[in-house]
Assembly symmetry: C2
Homo-oligomer: 148 residues x 2
DNA sequence: TACATATCCCATCGGATTAATAGGAATTAA
DNA sequence: TTAATTCCTATTAATCCGATGGGATATGTA
């Protein structure tokens, strides 16, 4: 399961992508209200995403947050890694956080490892393709399909 | 990431599958030593798997654990669910533990949900196919490939 | 300049979960 | 009867998660 932090982050990002107007900052409290996220909690989340280069912000009156990249350049894999760490289910199949299994006798021929490596690759692929743009497109397509 | 409990469980299962001789129980301590799992911890893990119908046991002297099903009937999805709960990354895309997202406005057209539903389906598929037999086969295939 | 309103930053908190251990009851073969 | 094993309950230390509080800092506007 992903953490609430990650879920909130994704919801906030999609909100920002939907209301995206050329560097027009949107305030934390507006996002918090609309997406039903605890105000103070969201504050920390957005700040983290700013420091990670996903968002930009303006301080002071009329301040707020906006996307630092375009909606098709921000994907869920990036967000999940930021808040929940590695996407892989085993440390021995992560790329960025690799750690050997203490109990492992031979990594090169470990059947368990090879299963979880496949799962990781497939998952990362799907989550990388899941950009904010892709999410909005999907949502729209589903709406149209229902209207018929 | 899967818990150590799940990882230990899988390692123990593969060990049992490899040393599988028609209802011949293998002792906890033997598995613990060979797989480098804390003895007492493994005790609880094997007991859980017995209560879940994956293992059988014999008590008393010459007692121990053995597979209750054949190696191709036991898969990783089942083990993960037992110890770590749902495989899905969001509660709104699980089959057995479904829970609505509080903040969700319309589940039927939620783009986020549809992404995580895809991931769930793909992952469950792969993990269901990852039986103890399949793991042993993979391992053997990799060994042969290296010997060349 | 003063003020209102934002983000930024740090510290803390209760509760849940995880990994592991301890101690002893129940069972069974020899 | 005894030795060896699984079974069962309780406890622990450490860590993480979700959330909150208070105040420092920046900035547009009257």
């Amino acid at each position: 399961m992903i953490s609430k932090k990650t879920k909130y982050a994704i919801n906030a990002l999609v909100y920002l992508a939907r209301h995206h107007k050329e560097h027009e900052p949107i305030q934390i409290s507006r996002i918090a209200e609309s997406e039903h996220i605890p105000r103070k909690f969201l504050e920390a989340i957005l700040l983290d995403m700013k420091n990670a280069g996903i968002l930009s912000s303006r301080k002071g009156k009329t301040g707020g947050y906006y996307l630092h990249k375009t909606p098709d350049e921000i994907n869920i894999a990036e967000v999940m890694r930021l808040f929940d760490g590695p996407i892989a289910l085993l440390p021995c199949v992560t790329h960025n956080y690799y750690e050997r299994c203490e109990e492992c006798k031979d990594e090169a021929t470990c059947g368990i490892r090879s299963v979880f490596a496949d799962v990781r690759n497939e998952t990362v692929n799907m989550l990388k393709n899941a950009t904010l743009q892709a999410i909005m497109d999907r949502s729209e397509a589903m709406q149209k399909a229902l209207e018929k």
